[in-house]
Symmetry: C2
Subunit: 348 residues, 2 copies
Amino acid sequence: MRGVNLSDASRIPSTRLKPVCIVGLGLIGGSLLRDLVAQGHTAYGYTHSRNGTRAAQRDGFDATNSLIDVLQRAQRDDALIVIAVPFEAVADVLDAIAQYAPSCGFTDVVSVKKPVYDLVLARGMGERYVGGHPMAGTEHSGWVASQEGLFSRAAWVVTYDYALEVDRVPECWSQLFAQVCKLAAAAGAEAVPVRVNPHDEAVARVSHLPHVLAEALALVGDKGGTLAQSLAAGSYKGGTRVAGTDPVLVRNMCETNAESLVRVLDEYIEVLHTARADLAGATPSMKQLAESGHRAYTRMSARSGARRESVSPVKISSRPVMRLHPGAPGWVRQLQQIESLGGRVEVF
Amino acid sequence: MRGVNLSDASRIPSTRLKPVCIVGLGLIGGSLLRDLVAQGHTAYGYTHSRNGTRAAQRDGFDATNSLIDVLQRAQRDDALIVIAVPFEAVADVLDAIAQYAPSCGFTDVVSVKKPVYDLVLARGMGERYVGGHPMAGTEHSGWVASQEGLFSRAAWVVTYDYALEVDRVPECWSQLFAQVCKLAAAAGAEAVPVRVNPHDEAVARVSHLPHVLAEALALVGDKGGTLAQSLAAGSYKGGTRVAGTDPVLVRNMCETNAESLVRVLDEYIEVLHTARADLAGATPSMKQLAESGHRAYTRMSARSGARRESVSPVKISSRPVMRLHPGAPGWVRQLQQIESLGGRVEVF
């Protein structure tokens, strides 16, 4: 790493998490608030929904309906701000942070990273921002859907493009990166360093595409009428579950990542065309798709998340781990190495 | 119903289940054996796998590795035979039943019904056959995957084409129909009367199509390499789960139902093409698919299986129910009515 010496880096606090200010208390923001408080950290939040604010307060959490208040408090506390609103609201939140919490570092949990990063850079806020994206969720939304433990063992993407773009990584940015990794760990997740473009391509493939497929399967299944409805079982329910997600949220993630999504959708349609041709032949065959699909499933299952075959109550992560000290010499090169392995970092 | 009078029908036993002989002790046959024995019924089974036989015996079940032995025993017991082998083995099992259990009624649990029915009719065994298909399963197979309660609240399709094709429904067939409905109930499932062609069309839509989509998603996800593998979470795992199924079983069901499957696959590809065009536009939009898919999901969820919103420990089925007496006047017309509603029957 260019220009940050060890004596600087050694000042980074290693065990403590700053107070955390969560802007947006839906499924993700709300679940994070629950986890942080459960772990004994100082955390509070804002939601624009009066019902959501009241519900969070009734559940015993420190929540407010005033964005200005919560950001001014964050500024006083030198808090880490987490932007947990849908993408369409991110620009307004960034403007509010610039005005009311002008020296706080911040991260986000939005499911696309390049469009958020562009908004951040356009405001000259790159030095104060480390992007994030916890790969966890359910088909439900809002504070009522939030739950402790939602992020347990999930990948929590942490972006680091800024460190590659500047001549010298500011110490405050290294410290912010460490804080965001610790935030992920506090939520029980695993910090996975990824640059914004590879992130957006990968989630188009493993998250946004599955959402498109689920919506389409719900539509085609429903066309079968009452009989198909009556017979729908596990394979259908598994394949359509995320079509239960609020369509506004689905649109938000798919439309903001449309370029990558269209590319993988084309790949997918091509696979279906081949399968269709094989099934429509004189001797219908699904040999190729069934066998290659099953092999792919087996490979993916072996890697994604915890090893399921483990009988130990202590689950072993299947992601390779690298321990590093943000700010130490060569740490950004280490991030690039671990990204190429789909691995995780532990900061100290 | 033509020609069966009430005095005949009244001789049908209403509460007792005959001994049940299960040919094939994989996921479905094995789970059925577990349920029946747990419910206090007499049930035994055969599997061609020596390991499967030993495993079932070790678990305390009455299992044999000899098809001839088990069918001769079924003949002595006047048992109900359940064919629970993959489709490719059905013809051989039918021939063995004709030879060693020539007067037993039989049913099956194969996921396509027209091809099985054709094999039955080609052997002149229609009077002794009522088709079945429990809409339940997991991505695992073999005796080791079998489990008590697998069919709880599932639809268990019971076919009745034979009753529409003959001039006069034989009493033995009405009794067999009743036995198969009781078998489904003994396994905790709901007997849903459906003719073979509507069945095969409906399962192409809600079961075989989801299997094709899962295999294709596994393939496309895996192409994303280690990073995509590391980031894959709930939506991907839900959408690919059934790609974990033994590819031989997936091929069996999809290839034997290829005609219906190709039709719904074409419908599905058409939906994806439209979505692709909407996402590739100057202003990417997923409004139409996200909103219509979510509405379809909501409709399907309201109908398929038990009402999830119920807070009572006694789950209420969302399928309309018709109580009927097989053999009673008009009972076949009643089956047609309940099929058109995607409903279930309870026999008495």
